[in-house]
Every structure is written in structure tokens, then in C-alpha cells.
Amino acid sequence: MQRVQQIDLETLDALGRGCAVLGTGGGGDVGAPLIAAAHAIRTRGPVPVVQLSDLPADGLIAPLSGIGAPTVGVEMLPGEGEAVRLRAEAERFMGRPLSAIMSSEIGGSNGVEPVLWASLLGLPIVDADGMGRAFPEVQMVSMNVAGLPVNVVIVADLVGNVTTIQPLDGEWSERIARAACVAGGASALMADYVITAEQAAGAVIEGSISLAVDLGRATVGAADPLEALQARLDARALITGKIVDIERETGGGFVRGSVVIEELGGTGRLIRVEIQNENLVVFEDGEVLASVPDLISIIDTQSALAISTESLRYGQRVTALAWPCHPLWRSERGLSIAGPRAFGYAIDYTPVEKIGTPVV
């Protein structure tokens, strides 16, 4: 896979498509962040992308993400000041300048927004992220899995407030950061950890931006975009069919529900995808076909565009793809933080490539 050197307008479009696929149904819609990022690139030029190995060992990286309510995000668009204020606080806290920023979550909107923040700050983006996908909570990041203690969490709201937190652990990060975010309007920018390049090695998921861009590019202009996407991901197609039932409810900050897909061709095969913001578990006749932390995306069969959980509609022709997550998530600690049981499913995790016989 070719490493991306910079994000220009063409790369941005591919990045958006790829982040939607890696969002596994959640992570927020990439539409609005793409508009903001495109405006930033048109105004200040392309944004450089660096590899971890390009940075000095003690170079500081701020992993960033937007947190808050998606319903607020459509109204309270990002400003230009919160990234600047967050950086100033991060540099004050660490006592020296940042070398780069990183996406905390490559899946969905948080994979695209770093382009805006990097552009505003004049910093490069590291070709890496803290999830390799999308997850709903602050503690579900690879740095936590790798055992890095949370040195600092900084929340910069859009009003102008900056909150610095030194939490006991990842779960306290989630609790206190969420409270600060809500008080400041329920939409904010957050740095979860500030780490050196040396610490990041092995504790972040490298190549995420290049992967997202590669996925996006593969599907544009391909004779069979879905096949191209599947090949790049080395994904298993769980079913190709039509959505015949959707149940969804919003509560406690989550979209919960399930979607049933019926195989085309009158075979009668049905699968059910369980959703909590992201697509988490796939069942067929009570058997698990794939489960979190492996990635499960529902893809438009024709265009190969990923469909977010909010956009699922009856009758859509879709293919459910599943593919292996980063090895960090398969460790004991990884599974305890983001395995099926962490989401309330009473099932044990089995790697997707080891489940049953290949279906397709």
C-alpha cells in the first residue's frame, strides 16, 4: 500500500469514503467534516501526512477527536479557535511544542476532521489512529489497550473554555471529559493523551490514513467497486442482499437496534446485524458470523459506499463485509475493553477468519 504524503482535495474525497467504511456504521457522518476540510485545503493548501518514523523519538503527538452529540454537531459547526486553544494548553502542560496531531478514531467523522485541525494549526497529521475503526467511548483506544497511563485529557469547547483533566484511568477520562463537553454545549474538541513518537510506536495503529485513502481510491472508477473494496480489506462477504427489517432507537446517547438482511436470489438466508452506534455482532440462525472488535460494515452493493446506521433504509441492496481488527484489540486487555462482552453480548470472541466455513 502506498503511503499518503499529503491530503489534497482529491485525497480528501478518497479519505472520506475510506473513513466511512472503517466507521463500521458509526463514528459520525463524514459529510459536514468533508465540507470544512475542503474549505481548509482550498484556503491554506494541502495538509502534510507523516509516518511515526519521520518524527523524532521525543516529538509530541496530540491524538484528537471531536466528542459530543451528533444532533448538536449539525448545528454547532466547528470554529477556528478551539484547535488553537487546545494546542496552546497541550504545549503549556507538556512544556514544549507539539510535532504533529493524530486522529483518535479513523472511522467516520473523526477520521476526516483532523485535516481541518492540522490545517488550522499548521501541523502535520501522523499516518495512524487510536482505533483502526470507530468506537463509542473515550477509553476504547489503542493507547489504553497498550497500557499507556493517561497523562492528560484536554477538552476545548467551541465557546472558548479549555478543561484539562488528569484522570485516574480511561473510564474516568470518559466520565469527566463527557461532563465538560456537555457543559460547553455538547460538542467539543478533545486531546486524549499527549504522547511522544516513541511511546506511540506499538500503542497506535499505524497506516490508518493511507489505508482509508487506499480504500476510497479503490472504489472510484472500479468496474466492480465492491469487489475492489473487499479485495483491499481481505474481507469476508457475509451476505449480499436486501434490507428487510430495521429496528432502531436512540437512548442514553446511543443508537441501538438491529437490521435484517435477506440474501438475494430467493435462498431464504437471513442475517441480523446488532447495532450500538456501530455494527457490533452478526448472527445467522443464532450462530455468530462476526463480532466486535472485528470490523463489520454494511456497504451499498452497487457503489461500494458504506452506509451509516442512521442512513439504513428498508429495501437497500447491500453487502455485509467483515474483516479482522488490529491485533491489539485481540489481546486479552483489548477484548476486555472492546470485545463483545464489553457491549453486553454474552458471547465469546472468535476471530472472523476462523468462524465457520467461508460463506462466499
Binding site: A32, I35, A36, P78, L120, G185, A186, G253
Partner: protein, 519 residues
Amino acid sequence: MSDDFRIGIDVGGTNTDAVVLDSHDRIRAWTKAPTTTDVSSGIHAAISAVLAELGDQASHVRRVMLGTTHATNAILERRGLGRVAAVRIGAPATTSVPPLTGWPADLRAAACPAATVVRGGYLVDGHPLAPFDRDAVAAFLESVAGEIDAVAVTGMFSPAFRDQELETAEIAAKVLGSHVPVTMSHELGSLGLIERENAAVLNASLYAVAGDVTRSLGQALADHGLDVTCYFAQNDGTLMAVDHAERYPVLTIGSGPANSIRGAAYLSGLDDAIVVDVGGTSSDFGVLRNGFPRESALAANIGGVSTNFRMPDVLAVAIGGGTILSGTPESPVVGPQSVGYRIRERGLVFGGDTPTLTDAAVAAGRTEIAGHRLSSRKHGELFSAALRESDRCLADAIDSVALGRHDKYLVAVGGGAFLVPDDLDGAARVVRPDHGQVANAVGAAIALASGWWETIVPTGEGRRRAVDEACDVARQRAVHAGAMPDGVEIVEIVEVPLSYLPKPSVRLSVKAAGPLARL
């Protein structure tokens, strides 16, 4: 009341239709004529045609309801648009996406030469984001005075907290004079800042077009000696009085599909059904729910600009009377090309050289065309195969819009309704009402007046009162749009829970509608 006639007019892409209904909603006259490039002269001609048919009863006409594409065309052709100054209240948030980002450059140049973002606006819980910078609003408007025709103002969370938009309108009246109209975004759209702002700017740029339409309609009516009250059809299938339409011209966009769905409801006597309007180039499927069109959940794109209008949820498939057939009986190609309004020159049955779905329908006996016959049986097998393909497309479309329920009646209207077979997969029954070919004009004539309101309310204590208040606002807006105060009913209350908020809250939207006030 026996002389309370009304004319419904619907200007579509292909045809301009008009009907006259009497006080018992019986059809007294109708016409269907090609839409003219100059839309107004087509309206003039349609009025002439139905009045001629009415003869000396023409004097009974008391109201005219118009559904028109003037506003759509102005935006698509960038013609006659006013120059708008856009004010957004939302700094220091929102500045990463300045107003009009993403608009086509030519539309932006035509419609909005100046924009600013000032400090102010609200958080989701009503706490101020920043002190409202009135001086910045005044300074900006002074700087553009004389160069703009209208103002559009959009405040962060204004659907819930609108006072700063109202205040901006007052400042504009002071600085620019009260003759410069102001669109306030909270009157038009729901949450979603970019889409609501786009809608407000488009609306403000359409004031001149709206004025032209009402003047030319007034002229057409005066030319025919009619002294009547006029209404405009809007995108949700209801009417608004002329002064309302002059303030919210953008709401006339999308009235066509809404009218045909409502007209089909009236003509068929059904309240819950699938409606298909088959025209020359496409079949438009909509869903009738409680007598109104089901609205789309997706953002409506108008002329390259994304907006959040309440548009009918319409699925268009390329099946129409003029759809061109090619290929072989083994693999027939049905459209998407169409001969459109030139069916009477080019269709085989009319002596032309192009096989169309109309020809296939004639060959299969689904319709007859007076005075015309197919001269040969040459394309027989292609026709059968093409109809099977067309029926399959229609059945797929029903399945999509009916969300898999197969117990709904299908009301087939429009000039090409004969393409719909009597027995179609997914439809419990196919209903073909009389006068279905002018269902859209009927829809305009029988429409109710409506009002709508959306806001954010807390759940638990205070919710009941907030819902009542929202209903009151919607009722008042319906009356302002022309409804009879006693007849207004709340027709829809939708509550959507919002996640991750300080206080549990819901987004509440309320719609009220009622029959038109007596004259």
C-alpha cells in the same frame, strides 16, 4: 355558496394543468397544455381554456390556487435572483465552514455577494454561546447598503431560540429601511445550520421572483375579469396565502409532487395509499399517509445547494409514456431516454419512427388512443418483453416506497397511468380515479392551509406545556397561511429524542392544517 368555484393550476416540467372545482368539489372544467418557456403565458392560456369551458359560469370563480415552478427555474437558471446579504450568528463556533461554502460559484455570485459571521447564538440548552454582537450586524449591513436586495439571517440553534434573528431583522430595518426584506432561518427550516442557512439565503434571493409571479398571476386574472383570492401551493401539499408566499417563496419548490399525491387522495377517496404519477419521462411514486404526502428524511438538493425543506418523499423511476424501447425481446432496453412531450410526433402509434412504452401499451391493449392504431405487428415480442420489464421496475418501486408492505392500494394518476397494469406485484389493488390525468391541479384546488413549527423541548416536567405552546404556534401559522381559525387541527406531532444532552430533550415538530377560511 353555490357559486364558490375555484381554479387549481399546476405548472409541471412538461404540462401546465388547470381544473375548476365547484363548491361540492365536483370538476366543472379542466385543461392540460404543454408548459411554455415563459411560464406565465402558459398559466394565462390555462386560465383562458378553463374559463372558456365554463362559459357564463366563469363569474362563479372565487379563488385560484397555483402550484408553480417559477422559483425552481429561477434557481436552476440563475435568473432574476435578488442579491442577498447573509448574516450568521454563531462565532466563535461555526467559522470553519463560512456561509455558502459548497455552493456552485455561479449561483453564489448571482444570489449572495456578501456574507458575515458575527458573535452570538445559543448552545443546545439555551445558554448563550457569546454576547450577541449587534454592532457587527449593523456595521456589516451598512457596508453593503445599496448593493443588496434582501437579507438572510441564521442563528445557531435559532429553531429553539429565535430572539437574535428577530433582533437582526429590526437592525436591518433601521439600517437599510423596512423595504429591504429579511428572511429569518427559524421560520423556514429545522436543526442543521448549513441547510437552514442555505434555505434562508435561497428564500431571500427569490423575493423578486415571487413578486413577479404574483403580479403576473394578478394580471392574468384581471385580463379575464376575475376578482378572486389567490393561494400558492407549497412542498408539503398545503396552501399559503399570497402574502405568505411572498415572504416564503422557497416553499413553493416541490409543490408539484405534493399536489399530485394530494389530488390522487381526493380523487380516489383514499387516505393511506401509494400514489404513482406517470408522466412522459418518469413515474413518480409517493406515499399518502393520513391524507398527506410522506416527507423525505434526506436533505433536498436544489440547484446544487443542500437544504432541509420538508419535501415529499418521492421515488422517480424512468418509466413514462414516452420512454424509448430498444434491444431485443431477450434483453429489452427500456429507457431511460424518452421522447417526452414529442410523443405525438415520434411514437409509432402516432405515425412516428420510435418504439415507446405507449406503443407497447397500445399493442397489449392497456390503452387505446382515439384515431390512432399501430400499423404493424413488427415489434410485438419486444413490446411484451419491455412491458414485463416496465412492470418489474414499477413493482420494485412500490416495494421500496411501501417498505415491504404489500397491503396498500396503488392510485395511478397522470397522463401515462395506463402503463400501470391492473395486477401489479406489491399493490393490493390498482385504483384509477376519474380525472387522474389532472390530479396535480386537483391537488392544488382542494389543498388545506397549514402551519408548521419545530423546536427543542425538555422531556419530563415542562414537556406538556412546551408541546402545547408549539401546537399554538403551528395553529397560528396555519391561520396566517389562510386557514379558517375554527377548522385548524394538529395533523402531526413528531418527537425525536436527542442524545448526549445535559437535560433529556426531544426535537419536536408540529404541523397544523385546516380548510381555507370563507371569503
